[in-house]
Assembly symmetry: C2
Homo-oligomer: 361 residues x 2
């Protein structure tokens, strides 16, 4: 079994990279949590079947389990569904060792993760990401949370998982649009941290789109390692380093919010946001036009959008972006590329330039 | 100004012990949070006036502020009021540096603290405890949370404050029953950690009940120091050491839950719970009858109850106690005295003995 170790002292954990080996999940959870006797498996209508398979494996390893179904979709990242998970934990007579197993994409991971972070002031959490986006991004690093009616992920906590169980076989049945959306975050890692990986993606666009198993293993493993490197150096996003992962995300949150959640998939919004960020960097003279076109070409080759496809009022976008979590004192902050494989935080970007970029897309 | 330092590495902070010097709170907050520009002051109908005074002081120190009123009482430790605080933070355009200032007793501290712990994945928090109970217990140590309909404090997070501002002058106007209730936790510190402090209380019951300023300063300062010592050694309640602070609390939660929140004040329930725990320790042969009577005499001299004053069904009490956060795998765990100034964790107490103690009170 391949695995990636996330080194965070007493909060260290393994990301297991497996394929079609669900029965081993029991031993994996048991190894990380020797004292745990109960587990709450959380899934939605898309992941319920897989969740039941995992539940069986957990029972075989001696855990007492229950399954908590959550409606599929972003609206479930809300206080009501959180409250339902608290009820399910209470129903299971959860103690401080009870494990929450989040089986799903980012929504399930964020919601179940936040329930784990806050029930009994913190329960162990095992992430079982079922989407590409969740495998390479949201399941690693300890960010959990729900949405506020006015803003995405406004409510949340840092809570590292006790382990992450990735089953790459799940990627083969993922709907095309959802799979492609996940590739936006994959490209992001190349742009912000690893130009060799970016080149690898350029050279393998067809194999990536065909979801060839050995390519998936390399792509997902590399993204997990790159994310783990960043998280190890800035677990709580205090030094600014972890902020590099938010490349394209300030713009993306603006588009996502104005489009209404669900219209644009997160990765699609990130692809558009990365294009905006690259354009902004070019106008600031940080990178040349070649950088922008190279990034755009790869995104397009991977079937991703690079423009919103709809005109949103610039002032409303700016207003949402100013309230982004990364903003401080109403001042927008941007992660911008300085060359392929390197980005920096800029908190003094002239607002007229931001407006101009928004109007050009 | 007297102060107590809580040493927790990057999460260290000061507890300021002041008297009638509210205008200095601005400088105190500013010193701890140099980058903060906005502050949300949270209070209830009992603390609103004091909150407004503090708000004025914060404005004078250059903070932009808003006041969020919360209904007084334990029922406010719920998802609805939490949600209202999230709305207030959004309305203030809170960023990651925005400070939440909790002005009140345990309810306000726990609720506003949990909002601070979870908005934008964590905002700085300043505790301004206005009750004796909050000064010596809930405002120090980083526990925040709300109630689940089925259990007290089931939902929460560890989130250390950036500072604690104690104004001892507030104690002089506290209603008698509420003041006495706080003394239960004061006695607890003597029993679990400091026999000299216990003797000091025995020698000064009258001065304590008369709320003499120099006695209050010593009592509150000593309790904060004792609690800080424990929290410094076991911040996240993982080694078992911090659990000593829960002396009497397993029983207390049983009585509080069955009485219905608000019937028994928390400190009253703790005084009864401590008496049960002492009786249990005596029956286990851990302490002699003299220990029980000495603790009972001090509690009584300080105007506290040592029996529930109402008969609750033993099985229902047991059922609630089994679901206590400290329980593991349905096994009740008790903090019991071994001598004055020392307690230990016992997880193998025979249940018939617990029943017998409950039936004897």
């Amino acid at each position: 079994m391949n695995s990636v170790r996330v080194n965070l002292g007493s909060r260290s954990y393994d990301i297991a990279l497996t394929s079609g080996d669900s029965k081993s999940v029991g031993a994996f959870v048991r190894a990380g949590l020797p004292k745990t006797t109960t587990a709450l498996v959380v899934g939605d209508s898309n992941t319920q079947l897989h969740g039941r398979v995992l539940e069986t494996a957990l029972i075989a390893s001696g855990f007492r389990t229950a399954f908590a179904p959550v409606p599929a979709g972003e609206p479930s990242k809300c206080l009501e569904q959180l409250s339902a998970l608290y009820d399910a934990l209470y129903g299971l007579a959860a103690d401080r060792q009870t494990c929450v197993v989040a089986v799903g994409g980012g929504v399930i991971g964020d919601l179940a993760g936040f329930a784990a972070a806050t029930y009994n002031r913190g329960l162990p959490l095992v992430m079982v990401p079922t989407s590409l986006l969740a495998m390479v991004d949201s399941s690693v690093g300890g960010k959990t949370g729900i949405n506020h009616p006015k803003g995405k992920n406004l409510i949340g906590a840092f809570h590292q998982p006790a382990g992450v169980w990735i089953d790459l076989a799940l990627l083969t049945t993922l709907p095309e649009r959802e799979y492609l959306s996940g590739l936006a975050e994959v490209v992001k890692y190349g742009v912000i941290l690893d130009s060799d990986f970016f080149s690898y993606l350029e050279a393998n666009t067809r194999a990536v789109r065909e979801r060839q198993p050995e390519v998936l293993l390399h792509v997902v493993g590399r993204c997990c390692r790159l994310k783990a490197d960043v998280v190890e150096k800035d677990e709580y996003e205090t030094t600014g380093l972890r902020a590099v992962l938010n490349y394209g995300h300030t713009f993306a949150h603006g588009f996502e919010t104005l489009a209404g959640y669900g219209t644009l998939l997160h990765g699609e919004a990130v692809a558009i946001g990365m294009t905006c960020a690259a354009t902004l960097a070019e106008r600031l003279g940080l990178v040349g036009a070649d950088f922008v076109s190279r990034q755009t070409d790869l995104l397009v080759a991977l079937g991703l959008p690079t423009a919103p496809g709809h005109s949103y009022p610039t002032e409303e976008l700016i207003s949402v972006m100013r309230r982004d979590k990364k903003a401080v004192g109403g001042q927008m902050r941007f992660i911008l590329p300085t060359r392929l494989g390197e980005v920096k935080l800029f908190d003094d970007v002239p607002e007229p330039l931001v407006r101009a970029v928004l109007q050009s897309h």
